[in-house]
Symmetry: C2
Subunit: 126 residues, 2 copies
């Protein structure tokens, strides 16, 4: 029993923040909302591009656009708690999520998210 | 000189039909027309699919459709004289080209084209 209790207190990844139940609920909503906005944007752009197709090059441009956006969305939206800080940091950096959209998270996570967003912004500027 | 003249009379690929200038002109037109019709069909379908997109699955279905049609078009439309008989046979089999669209070709080619179209139709039916 003693060893079992001791194990329960050891979080498997020491450096990763623990997500409380309310934070998980909040994170899921924020994640889904950002993904929904991004998908909506791609849908609108695809409809616009399709309506303007006149020749085959426009057609393959639409295909290329869709493939690139699908890959980028797949890479970005990784809902694993071990990745969420990075995901939200990226979304914050790209203005796909505002500070107000992160209000339900604890300060330790907000700090990491802002820090990663800042790092990405500096990388982009370099 | 003698050997040079002799060489000129030897067609490099003995089993391939020689395309006369008028046949080449005709083949190019028939090829371009069939390709144009097929591209027009894909453009119309893409516009229709895009206009009906409601959710992300519809979006990726459009991408998949475009990728598959691009690959199929790339595979089909191979304008090499060594391949043209097969290309026209395939287009004839798929009703993308009618007999009247092949009228400018000589009988030896028409025979091969019809024969290949028949072979493909039998393969499909099997």
């Amino acid at each position: 029993m003693t060893s079992s209790s001791a194990m329960e207190n050891i979080y498997p990844y020491q450096n990763e923040p623990i997500w409380s139940r309310s934070e998980k609920t909040f994170a899921r909503k924020a994640f889904d909302a950002a993904l929904g906005r991004e998908l909506h944007e791609v849908i609108q752009e695809a409809k616009k591009m399709a309506s303007q197709i006149q020749q085959s090059s426009d057609l393959w441009e639409l295909e290329h656009y869709l493939t690139e956006r699908r890959k980028q969305i797949d890479r970005t939206y990784d809902y694993r708690y071990s990745q969420l800080t990075l995901v939200f940091g990226k979304l914050l950096c790209e203005s796909r999520l505002g500070e107000e959209g992160l209000r339900g998270l604890r300060e330790n996570k907000l700090k990491s998210i802002r820090s990663y967003a800042k790092f990405l912004a500096e990388m982009d500027a370099a």
